[in-house]
């Protein structure tokens, strides 16, 4: 990767952060916080995006950011009001800015068609400020070229030709600003031949001499064919800091050399304005020196940027460490030492340390959900706009940290649920008014840690689920039998069935044939269930529960047909040793478990995975009651339950490909490789495709390959 393209990547990465800061700042302004630092932070975010974009010649982005910034500059100068209509324009402009950044990143111009509309809106904000002048970022202020490329300039000067006579008398400020007359003269020398004469006439006699008062001046004769502006540009930075007089003289010669062409505009290296600096500026900006105080330090905490690969390598190594720790622990346990033996306490310390390291390493990958939540306020705005509703998003627990992968993969399902909440959850404007509610609906989005999981809830204050209608639709679509009688929870669960949609017309928001089943599957892929609660007239709440990390799992270690396997604890509701009367045979081979008046299908894990128990194998006695996504509750038959423990997940996909019924593998304390089962898949396909008589030996061989 070239340095340029990696800096380009960095620009987009940084832009994401700036867009987040922008969203954050606007949210604060929306909440009524209009202090200078907040408005300044918003300004700086847009300003920095513009600055970076300019470096990569992303003109569309620069042009829009510039206009956006102009409005913000007026706001921080208190020349235009920070009112709700202007804030709305700012928020939409921020959304559009994000689109333009995305366009620039993907090198498309999909969003640029909308730019004009946003510019009009931004201009309308400025309209309220009579003094505001919208300047174009590339307005044709007079550029003059300055270049030190000697090949262009240092032509051997002819005896005849152009001369400049320069009188140069520095003021004290010139020295104070870090200038050095010798350097200026040296720069002139780059343009041609110079003759320098030091003028000491202003040097006072020694008694009157004040070293702080400059008393030297120079007369310089420059022989060069450059344009006069080029000579003036040498003194660009010292304008006003010296007395300067430049006179051009032309000595006629018999054959006049062709004049040097002026530099083409694209070689402009320093932009110079020939504007009279004494003229009052059209806009008097607010003093910018207010940032000079040291008291405010809203800057980000010091961070270290680390390549994600390195973190993952570390996580992998820590995984091995945990496995190693449990192996040692198991060996020590096998020694049957006294519980107060030194080695036993050390091993226990080792376990605690390993756990600490693991948590610390996982925390590296943890990210707050805040950026994700912030993006959702845009979704609410857009969904409200296109449905003609009025809605706001209120977030809680933005600082809750979740594994990076979880945050990333949560974006799509969350977007969908938020849209759903606005589209289906909230009543129409008239409906809300009729119900005596605030016309503006509220969507609450919250995140919290609860017992090793992250709970995300999406709650609307709409009408609640219309269960009668849900049942009606489900029947019409043959999703349930016509005479089905379902309780509230069962009715609500119908929403997650594939192909279900309650909207009578498919809106362009949450329609598109994508239903909550997709959301449910996406969340399930992250290892969590989705649940619904709803109160008529008060709203609906969706709850997603997610594991904190995707790298370790609390599992129940069981044996199935002589194989050691792990079942995720989160899936297990309870362990049952059924009595003889609890199991009922239905049809040829189906078994049902009767528990608390309900019948639950029983699935033999061994059969499901295609194992055959040896003839002399004792009849399995243990059932694990699991909750599955699609089949509801289901009881899995296993031979024996060993214990519960935390296992490190080792993916099978890269080495082996997906195995139905098996989600991953792990290495147990005794070095044995154990498969981690996917109860859902096992319950779904009671007999899995791989059920052809697969011998345990063959499976073992495959597992070794997979985990290698």
């Amino acid at each position: 990767m070239s340095a340029q393209s990696s800096i380009r990547d960095m620009f987009f990465e940084e832009s994401e952060e700036l867009l987040e800061a922008l969203a954050e700042g606007l949210a604060q302004m929306n909440a009524g916080n209009h202090d200078d630092e907040t408005v300044n932070a918003v300004f700086r975010a847009v300003h920095s995006i513009k600055g970076g974009a300019g470096a990569f010649k992303l003109t569309a982005l620069v042009a829009f950011a510039h206009r956006f910034e102009t409005v913000l500059d007026e706001m921080r100068g208190h020349r235009i009001a920070i009112d709700s209509s202007n804030l709305q324009v700012l928020q939409r402009s921020a959304d559009h800015l994000a689109d333009l950044v995305e366009d620039a990143r993907t090198e498309s111009d999909a969003s640029s068609v909308q730019t004009e509309g946003f510019l009009v809106a931004l201009d309308a904000c400025l309209g309220a400020s009579p003094g505001a002048v919208v300047s174009e970022p590339d307005e044709p202020f007079s550029f003059a070229a300055l270049s030190l490329d000697l090949s262009d300039i240092a032509m051997p000067a002819e005896a005849a030709g152009q001369h400049f006579r320069i009188e140069f008398r520095p003021h004290a400020g010139l020295y104070a600003n870090g200038h050095d007359p010798a350097l200026l003269i040296a720069t002139l020398a780059d343009l041609g031949d110079v003759e320098v004469e030091l003028d000491l006439s202003r040097l006072p006699d020694l008694p009157d001499y004040d070293p702080a008062k400059p008393s030297l001046s120079w007369r310089i004769r420059l022989k060069s064919e450059v344009e006069e502006t080029v000579v003036q540009d040498v003194f660009e930075f010292v304008e006003g800091l010296c007395d300067l007089d430049i006179k051009r003289e032309v000595v006629e010669a018999v054959s006049e050399p062709a004049p040097q062409p002026p530099m083409p505009a694209d070689e402009v290296v320093v932009a110079v304005e020939r504007t009279d600096l004494a003229r009052p500026a059209p806009v008097t900006p607010k003093e910018e020196g207010d940032g000079a105080g040291l008291t405010e330090s809203r800057g980000p905490k010091p961070t270290l940027r680390v390549d994600l690969d390195r973190v993952d390598r570390l996580i992998n190594a820590v995984g091995e460490l945990i496995i190693n720790q449990s192996m040692i622990a198991q060996r020590v346990q096998e020694l049957r030492l006294a519980t107060d033996a030194d080695v036993v306490t050390h091993v226990e310390d080792y376990r605690l340390l390993a756990r600490d390291i693991q948590e610390a390493v996982m925390a590296i990958r943890a990210q707050p959900v805040k950026p994700l939540f912030q993006r959702m306020s845009r979704i609410v705005r857009e969904a409200a706009d296109s449905t003609g509703k009025s809605a706001r998003l209120v977030t809680h627990g933005e600082g809750t940290e979740v594994d990076k992968t979880v945050v990333e993969r949560l974006a799509d399902p969350l977007t969908h649920m938020i849209r759903n909440a606005v589209d289906h959850g909230l009543e129409s404007l008239e409906g809300r008014i009729a119900a005596g509610k605030d016309p503006c609906g509220t969507i609450h989005l919250s995140a919290a840690h609860r017992s090793g999981a992250v709970i995300i809830t999406i709650r609307d204050d709409g009408a609640g689920l219309n269960r009668r209608k849900i049942l009606e639709i489900a029947k019409k679509k043959n999703l349930v039998s016509q005479d089905a009688e379902l309780n509230d929870a069962e009715t609500d669960a119908l929403l997650f069935l594939p192909g279900f949609s309650t909207a009578s017309t498919i809106s362009n928001l949450s329609g598109r044939g994508v239903g909550l089943d997709v959301v449910r599957n996406a969340v399930a892929a992250l290892g969590g269930p989705v649940s619904i609660a709803s109160n008529p007239g008060q709203g609906t709440e969706f709850t997603i529960s997610l594991p904190l990390t995707l790298a370790v799992l609390d599992g129940m270690v069981v044996s199935v047909a002589g194989q050691v396997m792990v079942i995720p604890i989160t899936a297990i509701l309870e362990t049952i040793r059924p009595g003889v009367n609890d199991l009922h045979i239905v049809g040829t081979n189906e078994q049902l478990l009767s528990i608390r008046g309900k019948f639950i299908p029983v699935v033999d894990v061994a059969k499901g995975l295609g194992f055959t128990r040896p003839a002399n194998h004792p009849e399995p006695k243990t059932l694990l009651l699991v909750e599955t996504e699609k089949q509801g509750q289901c009881a899995l038959i296993v031979d024996r339950v060993f214990d519960q423990r935390q296992v490190v997940i080792k993916g099978l996909d890269t080495n082996y490909g997906a195995v139905p019924g098996v989600s991953a593998a792990t290495v147990l304390g005794d070095g044995q490789i154990a498969l981690i089962l996917d109860p859902d898949a096992i319950a779904n396909n009671r007999v899995l495709p791989l059920a052809e008589a697969r011998t345990a030996a063959k499976l073992n061989e495959e597992r070794k390959l997979a985990v290698a």
């Binding site: 340095a3 870090g178 200038h179 504007t275 500026a281 330090s297």
Partner: protein, 124 residues
């Protein structure tokens, strides 16, 4: 002797760009994220030239200039202001604050190097 540049900008992108251009030109480049850090770096390791952004959190570019010009050591070091503002009154303001010169963003690699050479007297 290698020219030492101190670049102060809150934008990581711009900092990296300046650093790359300066190092490609054979200069030594130290970076700072904001004005406060910039002034600290300045004191730790006085550079031959400072390139600073104006709009920054904690301490802006004007703050940096006045901290350096108001200090006792190396107060006359050249300070270049890196700015997207091309408005004349802002340049005048930078000059009044004590800036040696300015570079308008988006800057051109050749330009920024030539300006640094110009104010430090470094030859190509």
């Amino acid at each position: 002797m290698t020219i030492k540049v101190l670049a102060i900008d809150d934008s990581r992108t711009i900092r990296s760009l300046v650093q790359k251009v300066m190092e490609d030109a054979g200069f030594e480049c130290t970076l700072a994220d904001d004005g406060v850090q910039g002034v600290t770096r300045f004191k730790e390791n006085p550079p031959d030239v400072v390139i600073t952004d104006i709009n920054m959190p904690n301490m802006d570019g004007y703050g940096v200039i006045s901290a350096i010009r108001g200090g006792s050591l190396h107060r006359n070091v050249p300070i270049l202001v890196l700015t997207t503002e091309s408005a004349p009154h802002l340049k005048a303001k930078a000059r009044d604050a004590g800036a040696t010169g300015w570079i308008v963003k988006p800057f051109d690699d050749v330009a920024i190097v030539s300006v640094v050479r110009r104010v430090t007297g470094a030859r190509a």
